[in-house]
Amino acid sequence: MIFLQLFYSFFLIGIFTLGGGYASLSLIQEQIVEKNNWLTSSEYVDLIAISQMTPGPIALNAATFVGQTTAGFAGSISATLGYVTPSFIIVITLAYFIKKSKNKEAIDIMLDTLRPSVTALIMISGFGMAFTSILNISFEIIEIIKIKSIDIVSLLIFTFSFFLIKKFKLNPIYIIIFSGILGIIVYKLFK
């Protein structure tokens, strides 16, 4: 049943997202694109762009989007519930048991160990998205060899956005709006 599947997939995403929203990207892709084929990889990248411009956590936006496109509003509610449930249970249990700073060392060591792997996962998502939009390939590791064509415009927008972020530390929303505007102008010109 689709509602249960949505709930279950996002429940898994909820459990294994550690270290903030961006860390959920690779999990979302695995569940939504690779395992269940609910979105194509280009729809997935569109979704990430959209959710960067709207309020709310990425994973929550993804839950609503995927739920809505596969099973309507009831679908988005089941996916959202699935994502929120583990948080709810785990956080309250922890809050109940952890008595303040006593276990701070445990948390510190835990985060210290998790951070490098979470960073690696986020970096892979970033590269994956860049490859999808610049190289016209799907983000299937083995297929990287089969590059169909290089999208020069995407490469330029990517490089320019990266430069803007590094140089001026602009808010991501402005970067994305700006690259969208740049997209329509440049692609129209070079069509």
Binding site: Y22, A49, I58, Q68, S87, R115, L121, S133, N171, G183
Partner: protein
């Protein structure tokens, strides 16, 4: 205080919690850390519902638990102030805005995503988003503790997922196990040095 009065007060608190998180969730763009600083403004500075220390504890716990920081933090705030029902109410407030906004957008998206102009805009945005995410990861990389151990974890997770397409969940679980092992070794060493 009469019973009715108490009930009214409780209802009012729940309503306030709902409205505050609803507001927070509809105006905060850009991830969990932003929402936490807004939360601090509303719950600590404006209403004095929580102390600075309590908010700090909530932040630490929200960051180190699974899920989104924004959701974890609102569960904790609700729970702290009004128990389980409070947590329900704050989660509802946090979830509602994205639920309605994205539902609406996804309907528009499925209608217009094949439109040429929309395609161009989205294509441009995709390049921008990948730049944003790579930037997030490189600045996180700089914050990793500079040790052989951290770099080994980083590069092995990177290569395992990127080249061998290993399940992301396995990477997370192994890191958790590794973290627990490190903590117990640390604790053992501490106890020994105390003796």
């Amino acid at each position: 205080m009469t019973k009715l009065n108490y009930k009214n007060k409780k209802l009012k608190l729940h309503l306030q919690l709902f409205l505050s998180t609803l507001y927070l969730s509809s105006v905060t763009f850009g991830g969990g850390y932003v929402i936490i600083s807004f939360m601090k403004k509303i719950f600590v500075e404006k209403h004095n519902w929580l102390t600075e220390d309590e908010m700090l504890d909530i932040t630490t716990l929200a960051q180190s638990s699974p899920g989104s920081i924004a959701i974890n933090a609102s569960v904790l705030v609700g729970y702290k102030m009004a128990g389980i029902t409070g947590a329900f109410v704050t989660v509802l407030g946090t979830v509602a805005p994205p639920l309605f906004i994205i539902s609406f957008i996804s309907i528009i998206y499925s209608k217009f995503s094949q439109n040429e102009n929309v395609k161009f805009v989205l294509k441009g945005m995709n390049s921008g988003v990948s730049a944003v995410i790579i930037d997030v990861s490189t600045s996180m990389f700089k914050k990793i503790k500079k040790s052989f151990f951290s770099y080994t974890i980083f590069f092995s997770s990177f290569l395992l997922v990127f080249l061998l397409n290993i399940d992301v969940k396995i990477i997370i679980i192994s890191s958790i196990i590794l973290g627990l092992a490190r903590f117990f070794i640390f604790k053992k060493n501490n106890e020994r040095s105390l003796k």
